[in-house]
Amino acid sequence: MDFKFTAEEEAFRQEVKDWLKANIPPRWFELTTGYWQETDESWKIARAFQKKLGVKGWLAPAYPREYGGADLGHIKRLILAEELTYHNAPVGVETEITVNWVGMALQHFGNEQQKKDYVSRVAKGDIVFCLGYSEPNAGSDLASLQTRATEKGDEYIINGQKIWCSYAHYADYCWLAAVTDPDVPKHRNMSMFVVDMKTPGITVRPLINILGCHSFNEVFFDDVRIPKENLVGEKNNGWFQLAVALDFERSGVQTAAGNQLLLDFLVGYAKSTKRNGRFLSEDPALRNELAEMAIEIEVARMLCYRIAWIYKTGGHSNYESSMAMLFGSELLRRMTDVGMRVLGKYGQLMNGSKWAIGQAEIARSYLASLSIGVGGGTNEIQKNIIAMRGLGLPRK
C-alpha cells in the first residue's frame, strides 16, 4: 500500500493550482460559491473558462488526444477534479453532464460520424448538453418514462415532457431518452438521441431553484422532428447504454473537495472570530464538531480515491461509486449544518447582506446541499444499489 502521490503527480497538482489561480476571473467569486447559483453573467464567465480548460485538454482530461482530451491517467484526473472543485473553478453540473455522461456515451455507442460531430466539440468546450432523462412521473423510477420518439420516414417525431433539465435554457443539445417501442416491456423499449435545442417544437420553461436561481427547466417536445441519424447506438438499446454508463469512472471526489473547501473556510473563521470574548476555535463543542468533519472528509476522500484506483488497476466500480456519492452528499448536509452552528445567527444571512460571512457560502451550500443526494440518483437509490449490487441482497 502507498497512500501518497508521486513527485510527478504532486508537480501536476501544483501546475493545476497555479493555472487556476491565474485563469479564474475574480468576478466569478463575487457571483457564485458553488452549485445552482447561475446568472447569465456567471454562465458567460463559466463558458469562457471552460473553453480555456478545453485548450489545455483539461475539460475532458480522460478523452484521447485525437478528440481534444489530455489522455490523463486516472490519478491525475483525480487531482485535477479535486483542485477544480477546491478552487471553486467555473465548472459544474453542465461539464459533468456534457463531458462525463454524454461525451463518454457518444464515444462508447456513437458511430464515427457522431463521434466526429460532437466529441471534439465537447472536449473543447464548444457545446453544452442538457439531460433529457427525468419526467414528472419518472424520477427515481426512470423506467416509467413516457416521452415517445416515433419513426416516420427519415425522421423521429418526439412528443412528451422532460423535467429537472439543468441548463436546458443555455444548452445546445439535449441528450434525450425516449420510448421507441411502447409494445415491449420496460427496459427494452427506449433509445437515446441527440436533439438540437433549436429544433422547432421545443419549449423550455424555467424552474427556479431554492437559491432563487434559474438552473432547472421543464422541456416540452411537441412534434419535434429530428433526423434519424441522431439516434445513438441501436434502436431500443437505450437501457443497456444507461446501465453501461453507470460504470463510467466517476470518482465523485468533487464532494470531498467541496467539503474541504467549506471546512477550511470554517476553520479560518473560527480562528479569527471572537464571541463572548473568546475565539470560536476555543469552544470545545465546535472544535469537536469541526474535527469530526475533518475526519469524515478523510473518509469521503478515501472512498473516492478508491474508485480512481480501481480503474487504474483495470477494474470497474460496482457499488463503490454509489457509496462515494452517498457518503459525500450526506456529508455535505452535515457539514453545512455544522457550518451554521459555527456561524451562529450570522449563518442565516444570504449574499447581498452586508453582514453576511464571506460570500455566504455556508448559507448557500446549506440550501444547495438539498439537491446533492437527490439529483443523479437519490441517496435511497444509491443505498439500494449498494445493497443489491454490492452485497447481493435480493430484490424480492
Binding site: F3, A270, R287, N384, P394
Partner: protein, 377 residues
C-alpha cells in the same frame, strides 16, 4: 498511490483466514471468554509457529522483518475471528515498546522470546483516572540502592493475569510538566508485591487491576531513558490505536457478513428480509462504515509503517472506527432481531468488543480533540 495489498500480504491474509477459521472457532472463543486465563496455550503455540508474534519485528531478534502494515493485515483477520488472548498486549504493546526504546540486550532477551512465543508481556499504563494523559500516572518508582521501588495501582491492564512480565509506566520525578519524569520498567510478574485481580468487563477481555506494593526492580530493567518514558508511550499509543482499529475493522466486517447472510436467508412476510428497503439501507450504511473504516485505518497504518508523524491519520482512524464499529454492530443486531439477543448467538461477542475497542487507547472524543489541533484549531 496504491490501495491494494501486496501479494505477500494477500497470502498472509488468506492463510490467517484459513488458520483461524479452523483453529479459532467460536466455541473456543466462548470457552476462553469464560475462562480465567483467556487464552489457549495450544493456539498460542501454533500462532508462534506460524511466526505471527515476530511478523513485524526485525530478523536479528528472531522476527520475520515485516512491517507494521503487515501486522495490521493480520490484526484485521484476528479481529474478524475475535481471537482471544494476549497477542495484542505482547506483540503490539510490549513488543513495540521494547523495539522502540529497549537496549540491545533487552531486545535480544525479551523481544527475541516474544517472537518465539516463549514470553507473554503486557504494559501497565492507565490508572484510576482511566485516561491516556501523562498527568494520570501516579504510580511511583523511587530509587533505592541499585534499583527502584514501585508503588501504585494500575487499572485496565490487559492480560496481566497471564503475563510473565509487565512493563510498568511509573513516575520517577515530579515536575511541572507531567510528561517529564515518567519511566518504563520491566517488572517480573512474579515479583513480590505484584498482585492482580481480573476485572469483569463487557468484552470478557482480561483487563486487570494490578497493585504494586513495594515492588523492587533493578536499574537494568529500565526501558529507554530515565524520566523520558512518556515520548515512548506517546509513540506506542499511536501504534496501539491503529492496531486496535485494525481489529475493529475486522470485527465490523464479520458483523456485516453475518448480518447480510442472515438477511438473505431469513424469510418474513413471504420474502427474505434482505429484500425490504429498510434492511437494505441498513446494510448499505454498514458496508459504508466498514469500507470507510478500513481505508482510514490502513492509511494510518501505512503512515506509521513509513515512519511518518501520523498523528492526524491515527486519530482520524481511531475516532471514526470506534464509532463505526458500534454503529455496524448495532445495525447487525437490529437485523438479527431476537435471535441475536441470545447468548448462544455470536453477534453479541462482536457487540461487546465494539465497546472495548472504542475505549482502548483513546475514545472518539479524545481523538477528535487531537484532530482539532491537527487541523489548526
Amino acid at each position: 498511490m496504491d490501495l491494494g495489498l501486496t501479494e505477500e500480504q494477500e497470502m498472509l491474509k488468506k492463510s490467517a483466514q484459513e488458520f483461524l477459521a479452523k483453529e479459532c472457532p467460536k466455541k473456543l472463543v466462548r470457552e476462553l471468554d469464560e475462562s480465567d486465563t483467556g487464552y489457549s496455550r495450544d493456539l498460542w503455540n501454533k500462532m508462534a509457529q506460524l511466526g505471527w508474534m515476530g511478523l513485524s519485528f526485525p530478523e536479528k531478534y528472531g522476527g520475520n522483518g515485516g512491517s507494521f502494515l503487515d501486522l495490521t493485515v493480520l490484526l484485521d483477520e484476528m479481529g474478524y475471528n475475535i481471537v482471544p488472548g494476549p497477542f495484542f498486549s505482547t506483540v503490539v504493546l510490549a513488543g513495540y515498546t521494547l523495539l522502540e526504546a529497549g537496549n540491545e540486550e533487552q531486545k535480544k532477551e525479551y523481544l527475541g522470546k516474544i517472537c518465539t512465543g516463549e514470553l507473554i508481556i503486557t504494559v501497565a499504563l492507565t490508572e484510576l483516572d482511566g485516561t491516556y494523559d501523562a498527568a494520570s500516572i501516579n504510580t511511583t518508582a523511587k530509587a533505592k540502592g541499585d534499583g527502584y521501588v514501585l508503588n501504585g495501582t494500575k487499572l485496565f491492564v490487559p492480560d496481566a493475569n497471564v503475563a510473565d512480565y509487565i512493563l510498568v509506566v511509573a513516575r520517577t520525578k515530579k515536575s511541572a510538566n507531567p510528561d517529564d519524569g515518567i519511566t518504563i520498567f520491566i517488572v517480573d510478574a512474579k515479583s513480590a508485591g505484584v498482585k492482580y485481580t481480573l476485572l469483569k468487563t463487557l468484552a470478557r477481555d482480561k483487563l486487570c487491576e494490578v497493585i504494586l506494593e513495594n515492588v523492587r526492580v533493578p536499574k537494568a530493567h529500565i526501558i529507554g531513558n530515565l524520566d523520558k518514558g512518556w515520548s515512548v508511550i506517546q509513540s506506542l499509543l499511536k501504534k496501539a490505536a491503529v492496531a486496535k482499529c485494525a481489529e475493529m475493522v475486522g470485527g465490523a466486517q464479520a458483523s456485516l457478513d453475518m448480518a447480510v447472510n442472515y438477511a438473505k436467508e431469513r424469510v418474513q412476510f413471504n420474502r427474505p428480509i434482505g429484500s425490504f428497503q429498510a434492511i437494505q439501507h441498513y446494510c448499505a450504511n454498514m458496508v459504508t462504515d466498514v469500507d470507510g473504516s478500513r481505508f482510514i485505518t490502513y492509511k494510518a497504518a501505512w503512515a506509521v509503517s513509513e515512519g511518518l508523524p501520523a498523528d492526524k491519520e491515527v486519530s482520524i482512524a481511531k475516532a471514526w472506527t470506534s464509532e463505526a464499529f458500534k454503529r455496524v454492530a448495532v445495525l447487525a443486531h437490529q437485523i438479527f432481531g431476537a435471535i441475536g439477543f441470545t447468548m448462544d448467538h455470536d453477534m453479541h461477542l462482536y457487540f461487546r468488543r465494539a465497546k472495548a475497542g472504542e475505549l482502548a487507547y483513546g475514545d472518539a472524543d479524545f481523538h477528535r480533540d487531537i484532530v482539532a489541533r491537527q487541523i489548526g484549531l
